[in-house]
Amino acid sequence: MIYAITLLFLCQLAGEVIVQAIGITFPGPVLGMGLLFLVLFLRRGSTEAFDGVADTLLKNLSLLFVPAAVGVVQQIDLIQENWLAISAALIVSTVLTLIVTVYVFRFVAQWTRGTEA
């Protein structure tokens, strides 16, 4: 378990360091995800212990957003002042994004997957 956590932290750390070194606004953890993929590729696979830690983390991904969600209380004034603009933007934009993404995916997949799709 300790090795697994260390590997996750190291990938994130390396991601953050690389981003800082290049001096770009790019999320370190996302680069870290790529680095983890690279590690798994070079090792030609994962270990049971690592799978356990990573899967537990991903299975409880919702939990990690709870502190930020509670942050609503801090921003309540700004949100109340602009509630119509914010709720319209969030709801309409999210529905639009879902529809556009899924249809473009399906449209292109029909060509690339051939007859099976």
């Binding site: 956590i5 996750l8 932290f9 994130q12 606004t25 999320p27 370190g28 953890p29 996302v30 870290g32 995800m33 790529g34 983890l36 993929f37 590690v39 590729f41 690592f50 990573a54 899967d55 983390l57 991903l58 991904l61 919702s62 939990l63 990690l64 957003f65 709870v66 502190p67 930020a68 969600a69 509670v70 942050g71 609503v72 209380v73 801090q74 921003q75 700004l78 949100i79 602009n82 603009a85 914010i86 319209a88 933007a89 969030l90 934009s93 999210t94 994004t97 879902l98 529809i99 556009v100 993404t101 899924v102 473009v104 995916f105 449209f107 292109v108 997949a109 690339t112 997957r113 799709a117």
Partner: protein, 240 residues
């Protein structure tokens, strides 16, 4: 009532350690998750909403400021980074499916990512929202730590951006299942990818509840959208 001072002393002690609010966060989530499970993962019974609602109520009742709460909750919040890294594992496991659908994913990512940014800013602008709100809304579809960093580029408020990100995640994860069923889309790779682009980690968590394939594609979409949105924001200031 001779023990009242003792209770007060214990409360004061707990108030000063991160343990109290860290435990409260985990308990609130456990309750939210249990309710979600009891309602057979109904999309409206979102564990994040239930947990956050309980905690906000508790903070209000005890008169605890958010900063004190976050002292404890930061340990949970911190794990967002390592969890993003951990998405590399389902990416590796499903590399064959990912390679097969590389082209649909790239096309859907670009279309979805731009739709998310432009439609959010455009709609809020029509409703007359001020610039700092628009800037905080722009990165709403990417995961919290990324959005907080990106909104600063445009002059937004990082704390507000984080809240809008969470609200977007909740909207998407509640809407996605009924919407996709209404559209009669049964391709779980496509469904998962869409919710990952639109609603990042909370959408991904929802997708994992529905199917492993949907969750994997949502996770990939979340990572890629974080990367693409960052690139858009990196290039954007050059044109403004």
């Amino acid at each position: 009532m001779t023990n009242t001072p003792d209770v007060y002393r214990i409360w004061v002690y707990l108030y000063q350690t991160p343990l109290l609010w860290l435990s409260a966060t985990l308990i609130a989530y456990a309750i939210g998750d249990a309710i979600s499970q009891a309602l057979r993962r109904h999309p409206v019974a979102n564990p994040v909403v239930i947990a956050a609602g309980l905690l906000i109520l508790l903070l209000g009742l005890t008169g605890t400021p958010y900063q004190v709460y976050f002292e404890g909750a930061q340990f949970v919040h911190f794990l967002l980074g390592p969890a993003t890294v951990a998405l590399g594992l389902p990416l590796w496991r499903n590399r064959k499916a990912v390679r097969r659908d590389l082209l649909p994913m790239c096309a859907a990512l670009i279309a979805g990512s731009l739709t998310a940014i432009i439609s959010a800013v455009g709609i809020a602008w029509i409703f007359g929202a001020p610039g700092e709100i628009l800037a905080s809304l722009a990165p709403k579809s990417v995961t919290a730590p990324i959005a907080m960093a990106l909104t600063q580029v445009l002059g937004g408020i990082p704390a507000l951006a984080a809240v809008l990100v969470v609200l977007t995640g909740i909207v998407g994860s509640v809407i996605v299942t009924p919407l996709m069923n209404a559209l009669r889309i049964r391709d779980y790779a496509a469904r998962g990818f869409a919710v990952g682009v639109a609603s990042h980690g909370i959408g991904t968590a929802r997708a994992f509840q529905v199917s492993e394939e949907a969750g994997t594609f949502a996770g990939i979409a979340m990572g890629l959208n974080g990367a693409l949105t960052s690139l858009v924001f990196l290039v954007l200031p050059l044109f403004l």
